[in-house]
């Protein structure tokens, strides 16, 4: 509901503060642990999972900040190179993105950089981008230096953390940091009225709006 329907979101009784809903996309090479990261965040689990989880491709999770409740709607994307051209259809209208790479694999870091560049050029201008160096528990096989990633993130204005879906290190923190950084005012609700369509072609980028929130009180 990024655009036209921004307004009609819930007028939740003002007592417990605002509820904001955000769309977050996960980008990154396949096998860097995108879905493990989300499963850890959503279910607090690494390998084992309950019967109810059929897929880890679309999940939601709510986090509470001091005065607001942020509901994440997490869209996983296919990481294989061959599907790269479809990515704009996923991150259209997203308010946040986590670009994941594997610290034991230099190539995935290079790929992450191209994702970041693309997001900065093509996604909504005020999208919040976080960079996650996953598999931090395997630091003995590290191929991407922590400092390199930090300086890259600083240059590009990204949130950055090294995470481990296996040990749960920094998993919740990175989502919380994103929640903090997301605009929770009603600026988004002013939604310019673009076509609400999800276009068919990957290049069809009519819609730029970042925006959001449901919290129109």
């Amino acid at each position: 509901m990024a655009t036209r329907t921004g307004a009609p979101r819930p007028a939740n009784s003002g007592t417990q503060g605002k509820i904001c809903q955000f769309k977050l996309v996960l980008l990154g090479e396949s096998a860097v642990g995108k879905s493990s990261l989300v499963l850890r965040f959503v279910k607090g689990q690494f390998h084992e999972y309950q019967e109810s989880t059929i897929g880890a491709a679309f999940l939601t999770q709510t986090v509470c900040l001091q005065d607001t409740t942020v509901k994440f709607e997490i869209w996983d994307t296919a990481g294989q190179e061959r599907y790269h051209s479809l990515a704009p259809m996923y991150y259209r209208g997203a308010q946040a993105a986590i670009v994941v790479y594997d610290i034991t694999n230099q190539d995935t870091f290079a790929r992450a950089k191209t994702w970041v560049k693309e997001l900065q050029r093509q996604a909504s201008p005020n999208i919040v981008i976080a960079l996650a160096g996953n598999k931090a528990d395997l630091s003995n096989k590290r191929m991407v230096e922590h400092d390199d990633a930090v300086s890259y993130a600083e240059e590009n204005g990204l949130l950055f953390m090294e995470t481990s879906a296996k040990t749960a290190m920094h998993v919740n923190d990175i989502f919380l940091a994103i929640a903090e950084k997301l605009p929770k005012n009603e600026a988004g609700a002013s939604a310019n009225r673009q076509s609400a369509g999800v276009g068919l072609t990957a290049t069809d980028n009519r819609e730029g709006s970042g925006k959001s929130c449901c919290g129109s009180n």
């Binding site: 329907t5 995108k34 294989q80 999800v198």
Partner: protein, 506 residues
């Protein structure tokens, strides 16, 4: 006589009994299975009867709705006086409402009647002097939608129900009076209407009691369903657009790609497992079913159902029990779409994009699955950056050969074998065994024949040799045969004649 009887018997064996061909009504004409065994005339009567029954039921509900409206009119001043007129987008609705005020009493009836009937009554269109057209038959789906909608409205609280009804009616009138608008304009009108209604539900005093989001969403869903079911024919796969051409293009493309296997796409769908193959079938059915639904949200439900089955299929194909991620899901969905080749795929996607309430396609689970469907279709139809040789890890030559159908289909037949059920698999295995047995028997027979020929040849050869040998040695043999001890003596007559007995002395 007897011959005749036997003839008619044999005829009965081949043909259907005469009585089965006749109209079930017994009118003496032939019936047709297409008309459930009635002749065309009886079928028409029965059909209209059924339609009338349905119509009566709808009319009953209409009456109730009208009663509601009248009571409302008597009790309260017209609600428009309360409407905050600050919102400019309401203004046009306000104006129109004044316009149609004189027809208030007929409001509900008009609303639920076929749209061409509306045009003859509506003051807006009356101005354009459109000649009263013949009464258009409402389709079954439209009636059903009307009925569902009335049921829904009846369950509503009064001022709110009245308000929603009125707004929908006005909107339908507006759409009808702008019949020649382009599809994009219509899409904009519908989208504007959704937004206006959504805002109205939020802010208008008539809807004070609907504080919960779910309630309001339910109202919006019903409005969407009703409107879209009614205008479906006009806006789906519209002539003005190239939707139909695109549909055909995608269909042909998918047909040409029939040879693609799950392995080529890296799709984790192991159809040799019966449960997985069942899930795949369910997914295929769901995505094909999408075309038969009218309301955008019903179509989206089909997409979601398809996706859930895809996830189920992946889960049972994977060696470890980890939940499927998007890395697994998208290739599997592409594979399913290639196998399903759903009808009017592009039209359906465009219809949903144009006319669905954006809530459903911008956020939420349905939106995610719908986005994936769009991605999959975009991947399939795009030859440059989507489905091509390199993305399948084939060489251009191999890809071309597959596309022209020149490639050996070993993988295909292998795949087909995997897709079969256990019984058929056994049958094919037995057939294969029988075929090889047959071959071996043939070979054995050939060998036996050859052996026989060999033996014959051998005996001939021996005979020949013997004869040759005999020829060569014929003289000797004759000489030997003529060397009977006394032959020469007989022939030559050299010997003195045998002594004859003589009387020696008297």
């Amino acid at each position: 006589m007897e011959r005749n009887a036997s003839q008619s018997n044999s005829r009965r064996g081949i043909h259907v009994d005469q009585s089965e061909l006749m109209c079930k009504n017994g009118c003496g004409f032939y019936g047709n299975s297409q008309w459930q065994g009635y002749c065309s005339k009886c079928w028409r009567d029965i059909y209209t009867q059924n339609q009338q029954k349905l119509q009566q039921q709808i009319d009953l509900d209409h009456e109730y709705a009208m009663k509601l409206q009248k009571e409302e009119d008597n009790q309260h001043p017209p609600p428009e006086s309360i409407i905050p007129s600050s919102n400019p987008s309401f203004k046009q609705f306000e104006d129109k409402r004044v316009h149609t005020k004189g027809f208030r009493g007929r409001g509900f009836k008009k609303f639920f009647s076929p749209s061409s009937e509306q045009t003859t009554v509506s003051p807006l269109v009356a101005k354009t002097k459109s000649p009263p057209t013949r009464k258009r038959q409402q389709s079954f789906e439209s009636k059903r939608a009307s009925k569902d909608f009335v049921d829904f409205i009846v369950a509503f609280q009064e001022p709110a129900a009245k308000d929603v009804l009125k707004k929908c009616k006005e909107f339908m009138d507006k759409l009808v009076s702008n019949k020649e608008n382009s599809i994009d304009e219509k899409s904009d009108m519908v989208q504007d209407f959704y937004q206006v209604m959504a805002e109205r539900l939020m802010s208008h005093p008539n809807f004070k009691s609907y504080t919960y989001e779910e309630d309001r969403n339910k109202i919006m869903d019903n409005i969407e369903k009703f409107i879209m079911t009614r205008i479906y024919r006009d806006v789906f796969c519209n002539d003005q657009t190239d939707d139909e051409i695109e549909d055909l293009k995608v269909q042909t493309r998918i047909r040409n790609l029939h040879w693609i296997t799950a392995a080529m796409l890296d799709a984790n769908v192991d159809t040799s497992k019966p449960f997985v193959s069942e899930c795949a079938d369910k997914a295929i059915t769901a995505i094909i079913e999408m075309d038969s639904k009218r309301a955008p949200q019903d179509k989206l439900t089909c997409v979601t159902r398809c996706s859930k089955s895809v996830f189920e299929a992946i889960r049972h194909s994977k060696p470890d029990d980890t939940p499927a991620s998007a890395d697994d899901y998208l290739p599997a969905l592409i594979y399913i779409i290639l196998k399903a080749n759903p009808p009017l795929l592009k039209s359906n996607i465009r219809y949903i994009t144009r006319f669905s309430n954006p809530i459903h396609i911008m956020s939420g689970e349905d939106a995610y699955y719908f986005t994936n469907l769009c991605c999959a279709v975009s991947f399939i139809e795009n030859e440059e950056t989507g489905l091509n040789a390199s993305s399948l890890s084939l060489t251009e030559i191999e890809f071309g050969a597959y596309m022209r159908g020149e490639m050996p289909t070993s993988e295909k037949s292998e795949l087909k074998e995997r897709e079969l059920c256990a019984g058929l698999q056994l049958m094919y295995k037995n057939l294969n065994d029988l075929a090889s047995l047959h071959e071996r028997t043939d070979r054995l027979f050939d060998e036996a024949m050859q052996m026989k020929k060999g033996i014959q040849r051998h005996s001939l050869h021996v005979k020949e040799q013997v004869e040759k040998m005999l020829d060569e040695t014929a003289i000797d043999i004759r000489s030997r045969s003529s060397s009977a001890l006394d032959e020469d003596l007989f022939d030559a007559g050299l010997l003195p004649p045998p002594l004859l007995p003589t009387v020696a002395h008297r």
